[in-house]
Each structure stands twice: as C-alpha cells, then as structure tokens.
C-alpha cells in the first residue's frame, strides 16, 4: 500500500502524464488514430489510478491531511520565499475526482468532438484543463495553483481553438485568453504582495500566513489584487461579455473548458485562502460584490435569445453565488454549491449538446431525446439543490446563518431566487426541445453519472442533504464535514432560523420552477428571435461593458500613437536632427567666420610688417641717384655716431 509521504511524486507524475498526453495530441493528433482519444483516455485512467491510490492512503490515515513543501525561489521558511509543494487532503481528492468524471463525460461524447474542425485540439484542451484543476487542488501554496489555473486557461483557449481559422472565433478565443491572463497576472501580483512579509504562504501550515508586523498596507494591496484576480477568473459581471458572445463550439465543450474547469481551479485558491483573506477583512466586500454580480448576470441571462448564451450567464451567476456563500457561510456550504454547479452544470450542458435544432425527431431518436430532456432537468436539479441534491443544504444553512438580520437574509434569498429562476428557465427551455442530434446512447446517458454524484447522500450523508433540522435522515458520515473539520453541522443552528430559512429556500425554488416555466413558454412562443430594444438590448449585451473597455483601449492606443508621434517621430527624427544640424552648422559657420577674420587679420598684420621694409628696400632699387646718396651719407653718419659712442 502506498503511503501519503510516497504519493507526492506519483501525483505530480500522474498529472504530468495527463499534460504530456494532451501536448502529444495537440501536436500530432491529426496523425494519430481516432485523433488520439485513446491517449486522452489513458490520461484519465492514469490520473484515476493515482488519485485512487491517494484515496486509499488517506483512508489508511483516517483522512488526515498531509503535506510536503519545497523551496522554489528562496529557502522554505524564509520571508519572501516562493515555496511549492503537495497537499494531500480529502477535499483536493474529491475535486480531482469530480474533474476526472466531467472529463470522462466529455470524452464519451465522441460524436460531438468529432464534428469539430480540429477534434485533437478539444482532447488536448480537456487534458490540459483537467490536469490544471487537479494541480490547483493538490497544491500546497498559491504558486502551483496559479500554474493549474494557467493550464485551465490554456485548455479553454485550445477548446475555442478548434475553430481558430474563423476570424470571429479567433477574436473570441483572444478575448477569453486576455481576460483570463489578466486575472492570473493580478492574482500573482497579489500573492507577491502577501509573500513580502510572510514565509511561504503554505496552506498546510497556517503559521506561514502570519506576520510579525500585523496587517500593513502592502498586505491589503496584495490581498485586494489576489481577490481581484480570482474575481476576474470567475467571470462575473463586469467580465460577463465574453460568455454572452456566441460561438460555434458545442455547449458542453465550451462550458466545461472555459467556465467550469477554470472556476473549479480558481476555487482551490479561494477556499484554501479564505480564512486568511477573512482575517484581512477583504472577504466580506468581495462577497457583496459577487452578490451584486449575480443580479447583473441573471439580468443579462434572461434577455438572451440563444439558449447557450443564457447558460453562459447562468454559469457565471452560479460561481458568483458560490463565492458569496463561501464568504457569508463558510467553505463547507460553498463546497456543496460548487459540487452542484460542476456536476449539474455539466450534465445540463451535455444534454443541451445532445438536443439540438439541427437534429431530427425520428422514432429512433424519440426515446433518446426523452432521456436527454429528463437528464437535463435532473442536471438542473443537481445544480440548484432540488430535493435530494447536495446544494439544498448549503443554500438553507447559508440563509439560516443570516436569519438574525432579516435584511441581509432577504438579500441572500433574493439573489438565490434570481439564480434559480434563470436556471429553471433554461431547464424548461431544454425540455421543450424535441430534436436530437445523432448521438449514441452513451453520450445521452453519461450525465447520469454526474447526477448520481450530485446526490446529497454522497456529500452530506443525509438523503435531503441537511435540509431537515437535526439530520434525522442521516444514513452515512458526511464527507463535507470530514473535508472541513466538522463544519456545516446542522445541530449548531437555531431550529427556528433553520425552519425559516428552509421555508424560504423551498418556496423560492418552487416559485422559480413556476416562473422559469412561464418565462420559457414566453420565449418559445416568440416565433422570430426577439428583437430587443433600449434597456433590454443594453442588458442583453452584457451592459455594454465590453464596448466601454474597447473604447478605453482605443483611447490608450490613440494616446500611445500620439506619444510615439511626439517623441519618436517629431523629437528624434525631426527636431533633434534638425536642431543638431542647425547647431552644428551655426557653430561651424561661427568658427568659419572667426577663422576667416583671424586669417585676414593675420594677413593684414603680416602685410603691414612686410610692407614698411619692403617700401624702404624699393626706394633703394628705384634707380634714383639722390636716394642712393641719401642712404650712403645716412649710413656713414650712423656708423660714425656708433663708433663715437663706443
């Protein structure tokens, strides 16, 4: 039996194998048989084997977490050091297994993948994304988790890249990667700020997060940047515009690779760092911002004419709701919501990809179509916590935790209600679709696995998932309590608060079901795609945030152009050369003028020096006898005087 200390290398090797398989498929997939899907499946199996070994080892140790850290940049334990390591705990194991299950469902939709222009990119994308999620959740420190998030971004990029050769799809893929990269860069910046006064940022060692100096401004800046980066990764409002842009990639593949997997990876950092960020006082504002984003996302989703765009908005709202639950109710309840989003959302997306307007209503398809609609409904039940599914308990305990403050509880309930409304509208719209794209039974039924995984009994040990006070329907130990050290025990909550919250939640759910049906019928009755105007169009376009951002970037580009024009063109290529040329010519002209004057002055002086004796000598040569006699007598007198003096 492999023990926990022996597993880190194996875990990393398993993830690396999955990554390598994805890379090989990306580069040589076209030459491999079946576009390399067998290699992708081998990655799933290897990862499954490795995580099964982890499960066994954890069970042996009573599900106690174990970690191994190493210095990466700087020595471990040193302030400002960047350390990496592996954290082996049941939460990480659970999420990694969820990711593998989601990938298996996607791979089993082989017909769907083969319809893409470049199927090998899809297999590679999902391999990268799964490896990224697993890496994020086994990471001991944020740094390796950031690499995991980066891998999921890469996966999303390649998934959209199946259609890169179309300009519109290329633009969409670029927008996706710019947004996600920006979030990642911000998160890294934030972690650097936190690392300045801390030794390692290890999630296995809470002491590594404490500082001697207490909270300083740099900590706040670091924490805000980290949260901002994670916020961007989850794509809430105002980063919603991308999710509302249509794309030819099938719903299942797009939802998984661009929203669900990156969201799962991001929650690794959020959940693990939550306690520390709460101590800094940063988490509560983050939670309120996320709640506000729910309102905007649901608004935008309700006005979408295409189902898949509405679903993109709903996924965004789902992650926002989960983040808010994490802030206001703790990681245990947030985890149950996260499980619902991941499993239920994928099931719904899978069914939506099977049901399609391009399909047929042939007799052979009818039973498959029926199953697809049922599973689509079941998927939404998984995601929203309809009876027997995991999120129910999370929602109820969240509301009951705020019951003493009616306004706050009402706001929570309203946000949840809005989120449920949109979800059920989408589910009802799916149920109205009769056409089925030609897919085999395995593709239609694979969401069953996810729905079963999403049952409350699998996560909370009780049939209703903590929806009844005191858990009388508990049949097994609660996995979530095990993950989070006994949190989410219903016994600690006041019974009146619990009953009130429970009533609020179930009422919201029933009303959302009914309202969703009505909205879906209204949408179905419109024969033409609705032509939105005014406010509705504004909302449907994601509140035109992207347009504003585009304008901002164009302004920056214009400013940049003017700076280049001013400095590079005008100063360096015109003024400086002209100025230098002018200065040099003027100085040269001045020097020439001085030189000329000097020369002429010299010449003049020289002439004068020469002229006088020359004139005298000329007198001697002019042939005039009186001058000869004058010089002769004169020289004689001078000689006489000289000798008389001496």
């Amino acid at each position: 039996m492999i023990t926990l200390p022996e597993l880190p290398v194996l875990l990393v090797a398993g993830i690396a194998y999955f990554l390598l398989a994805g890379l090989i498929i990306l580069i040589w997939g076209r030459r491999l048989s079946r576009h390399g899907d067998w290699l992708a499946w081998s990655g799933v199996l290897v990862a499954l084997g490795v995580f099964a070994a982890l499960a066994g080892a954890l069970a042996e140790e009573g599900y106690r977490a174990w970690h191994l850290g190493r210095g990466w940049v700087g020595s471990p334990g040193e302030t400002g050091a960047i350390a990496v390591g592996v954290l082996e705990d049941p939460v990480g194991l659970a999420v990694a297994l969820i990711a593998l299950a989601l990938t298996a469902v996607a791979f089993s939709s082989r017909q769907l993948i083969l319809k893409e222009p470049r199927p090998e990119r899809i297999y590679a994308a999902l391999s990268f994304s799964t490896a990224g999620v697993a890496l994020s959740w086994i990471s001991l420190t944020p740094w390796l988790a950031f690499i995991g998030i980066g891998l999921t971004v890469l996966g999303g990029f390649f998934a959209l890249g199946a259609r890169w050769e179309e300009n519109g799809e290329a633009a969409l893929a670029t927008r996706f990667v710019i947004q996600r990269s920006g979030g990642l860069i911000l998160a890294v910046f934030g972690a650097c700020g936190l690392a300045l006064s801390r030794a390692g940022l290890s999630w296995g060692d809470p002491a590594s997060w404490s500082t001697d100096a207490g909270l300083v401004p740099v900590d706040l800046i670091g924490g805000i940047c980290l949260l901002a980066g994670l916020f961007v990764q989850l794509q809430p409002f105002p980063f919603l515009g991308w999710a509302l842009t249509p794309s030819g990639v099938p719903t299942l593949l797009r939802a998984l690779s661009t929203q669900i997997f990156p969201g799962l990876a991001t929650f690794a950092v959020l959940i693990r760092s939550g306690a520390e960020l709460e101590r800094m006082g940063l988490l509560v504002p983050f939670g309120w911002v996320q709640l506000l984003s729910v309102a905007f996302a649901v608004g935008a989703g309700l006005f979408q004419s295409q189902w898949r765009m509405g679903f993109g908005a709903w996924l965004s709202s789902a992650f926002s709701i989960t983040s808010a639950c994490l802030v206001f109710s703790g990681p245990a309840n947030a985890f149950s919501l996260l499980v619902g989003v991941a499993l239920g959302g994928t099931a719904v997306a899978g069914c939506a990809s099977s049901l399609g307007f391009g399909g047929s209503q042939s007799a052979s398809n009818r039973s498959r179509a029926l199953w697809a609609r049922i599973l689509g409904f079941a998927g939404m039940a998984t995601a929203t916590g309809l009876l027997l599914f995991a999120p129910a308990g999370g929602f109820i305990q969240w509301i009951s935790g705020a019951w003493n403050d009616p306004l706050v509880a009402a706001l929570f309930a309203l946000a949840i209600f809005a989120h449920l409304c949109l979800g059920w509208k989408l589910a009802w719209q799916l149920s109205f679709v009769k056409n089925l794209v030609q897919v085999p039974w395995v593709s239609v039924l694979s969401p069953v696995l996810l729905v079963l995984f999403g049952l409350a009994v699998a996560w909370r040990g009780s049939l209703t998932g903590g929806a009844i006070p005191g858990d009388p329907d508990r049949v097994a130990p609660s996995a979530i309590e095990l993950f989070f050290n006994g949190q989410s025990a219903t016994g600690i909550l006041e019974e009146s608060a619990f009953l009130g919250a429970s009533g609020t939640f179930w009422t919201s759910l029933v009303v959302a079901l009914a309202l969703g049906y009505w909205l879906a019928r209204k949408a179905r009755q419109r024969k033409e795609p609705q032509e939105l105007k005014g406010v509705a169009l504004f909302v449907a376009e994601g509140y035109r945030v992207d347009r504003g951002a585009e304008r901002g970037l164009k302004l920056i580009a214009r400013l940049g152009g003017q700076v280049v024009e001013a400095i590079d063109e005008r100063v360096w290529r015109e003024w400086l050369p002209r100025g230098a040329d002018f200065a040099i010519r003027r100085i040269a002209a001045l020097a020439m003028a001085i030189d000329t004057r000097l020369l002429s002055g010299l010449r003049l002086a020289l002439r004068k020096c020469v002229d006088a004796p020359a004139a005298g000598l000329q007198l001697i040569q002019n042939g005039n006898i009186q001058w000869y006699i004058f010089f002769a007598i004169g020289s004689g007198v001078l000689m006489l005087l000289h000798f008389m003096r001496s």
């Binding site: 940049v73 690499i147 920006g182 290529r573």
Partner: protein, 504 residues
Amino acid sequence: MSQHLITLMILLPFVGAILQAFVPNPPGAGRWIALAASVLASVCGVALVASLQGQTADLQAIESLPWIGSFAISYEMGIDGLNALLVLLVAIIFPVLVGYEWNQKLGRRGVHGLFLLLQCALFGTVCAQDLFLQFFFWAFTSIPVYFLVAIWGGEERENAAFRSLVAASIGNALLFAALILIYYSVEPHTFALKELAGGRFSARAFHLFGSEFPVSGVAFALIGAGLALRIPVWPVHGWFTQIAEEAPPSVLVAFAGATVPVAIYVFIRLTYALFPEILSSASGTIMAVGAMNLVIGGICAVAQRSLRPLLAFVCLGQVGFMLLGIGSLSSAGLVGAVYQQFVVGLGLAGFALLLGIVIDRVGHADFMSGGGNKGERSFGGVAVRAPTVAIVAGIFIASLLGFPGSGGFVGNALVMIGSYSALPGLVLLAGAAVLLAAYYLFTMYRHVFLGKPRAEGAEFKDLSLRERALILPLAASLLAFGIYPKPLLELVRPTVLTLLSTVK
C-alpha cells in the same frame, strides 16, 4: 588552462573573426570557422559558469595582468554571481546568431565577423574588473552594431546606424567623463573596481567655475545618463525604435537580447559597487524611471501595428521591470532584476528571431491593417500553416508576461516582492502595465497566428530543421529555468547580498 578560461573565451571569437575573414576557398569554410569559434567561446563560458562555487560572493576565475602601468590600468577579469548569468546569456545567443545567418548571401563573412567581434566585446565587458578595460570593451560594442545595421539593414539603414552611433558615442563620452573623474579623485589613481568599491571617493569634491561639486554625485549622474543612452530608457530611446525597424532580425536579437542586458549589468555593477550612499537616495528615481518605461512602453506598444516597433516597446517595458528591481534596494528585487536580465534576454532573443522568420516569410511586418499603415497588408492564420511557430511564439509571450511556470515568472515575482517594500504605488503601475502587455501581445498573436489564413501567406512554411535547432533550445531553456531556477538563483544571491550590505 582553467585559469585563463576568461581570456580564452574573449580571444576565441576575436581570432575566429579574423580567421574566417581571410580563409581562402572553399567559400563555406569561413562560416564553419565562425561557428566553431563562437561555439568554443560559448563552451568556455558555460564551463566557467558551471565551475563556479555557489554560496560565495567572492570573485572567481580571476586573471590579472598589468596593462598600461603608468595609468594603473590593468587587465583584470573575474566572474561572480552578478555577471555569471550574463556570460551564460551571451554564450547561448551568439552561436544561434551565427547559425541564423548561415545562408546569408550578401557578405556572410562580414556578418559573422562582426557578430564574433560583438561576442568578444560583450564577454569582455561582462568579465572586466577594471573600469578602463570595461569601458574599452563596452565602447567597442557600438562599432559592430553600426556596421551590421548600416550594411545589412532596411531602407533607412544609414540613418538608423548613424543615429545609434551618435547616441552610443554621446553615452560613451559621458561614461568616460565619469571614469576620469573617479580616477583622478582617488590617491593613488586607479581604475580597479575592487579598490574603488565602497564609495572611496564619496567625500571628494571638485571645483568648476567657482562652485564645488561632489565627485560621487556628478559621476553617478554621468554614468546614469551615459548608460541611459545605450539602454532604451524613455524618452532617450528614439534611436532604438529606429534600429528595431531597420536592423536585420539577428542584429535586433544581438541588441535586445544581449547588449541591453549587458548595459543594465554595467549599471548595476558600477552603481552598487561605487556609489552605495548615492544609491540610497536615488533609488526612488531609478524606480520611477523604471515605472515610466513600463507604462509608457506599454501605452506606445498598444498603438503599434507593425511587429518591429512593437518588439522595441516590449523591450522598453522589460527594461523598466529590471530598473524597478534595481531601485528597490532589496535582495528579492535585485536578485529578480539580475535573473530578469537572463530570462528577458533569452525571451527577447527568441521572440525577435521568431518574428524575424515570420517577417522574412511574409515579406513585411505590418500585422494590423488600416490606420495609414501601408494599406491592407496584414498577417493571419500562420498557426494553420506553421503550428510550431505558433506554439513557440506562445511560449515566448508567456515568459515575457511572467506566467507561472515560465522563466519570466521567477524574475517578475522577485522584482514585485522586492519592490512592494520600497514603493507599492509604483508596483501597482507596473501591474497595470503588465496587464496592458497581455492585451497587446495577445492581440498581436491573434492577428498574426489565428484567423483565416491570408492568401499572401500561402507559401508560409513551418520552421526548418536548422531553425528549430536555433529556436527550440531558447524556448526550452525558458521553460526549464522557469520550472527549476534554483541553481541560477543560488549563484546570484550571495553576490547580491554582499552588494546590498554595502548600500545599507
């Protein structure tokens, strides 16, 4: 032999440059001699770095000979944690450049000879421990660059080459003035770095036009100004953008990938060793200049529609990052800046080389159409025809942006951690600039590599075997040093800590 490894490393390219120029038939022999000389010199460099003892700040592989005794100028060479990575950088880049110009039809011997001379000069600059000797090699680097641009450049090559020579000459003149000032400020006069270190002349002053000026302050300003004209520091960078537009890709690589990091090394070496007390008060200014480079470089890059000036402004931004680390006066910041010299050098070198290949294949550098940019010419869909080019370009972009797992992440993270303690506001500005960098680099990537393939790129082929041999090692190095930076960091840290102890 091992005692004279540095001299061998410097002499081999010089001898190779002369030999390959004069070797008679066959015509191809010259390039093999050039490659052999460059590779052998690089092997010496790698052997030198590999033989360094870690965990020590002492100068190693010291070679010392009197040169011009009457002026106390000596041939003094040595290697420590501060210059080891630069030796490695130059050792990696120049054989690649010689290989890149393998099939140069016009004056191949000239190109190879000039690259070898540049390699010799850069090795000399990096290893010199005597100020005069360092200046000698450093000033010499501007000459091969001039000829490389002036002869093998684009349409306005003479202008670009002349402008770069003028800027370099002014910079060198200012630097030389500083050296002379320092030389005459100490008794006995000397150029030796180890004797001048620690601010020996900090209390000295000189008189000019009836006023007294502190030697260290004036010398620091002269060195800063002189090197600012050789590194692209905004706003005295105009010559660099013109070089980027006119120089052949290999020359741009030599410049952006090697000469610029060496210039920054000279700045670190001189300022930290000679002006510790001035550095404490000037650190804010250095960081501000760095932040300005980052921000303005980013804003200008957003406006670019052509690959060459885009690369120039990317280089400007990366220089800003390094200046941020240098000015932070923290161990993390300075280690990060030194590490950044290496990875940014590799990243810019590889990226410039790759873009050069792309430009050569397509025939122009305009990746975005419109806006008065030579009509509708643009790229598109290169990834379809050349997937290797696309993947490798992605790796270089990831490194330049500092994505975790790439070489650039380690340097960026350390610079950030170090700079936070000094001026957090500037770090936020730097962060905004990096976000802008993500926008313009990925936008460029989309226009060049994604989308519908343009008809004019129909003949675009993927990397040849020779090109893969040149570029893939650069990309692989970036990934390798991003995942496992420890050996290099352990070389750098002790020297950095020793330098910082004199400042603090």
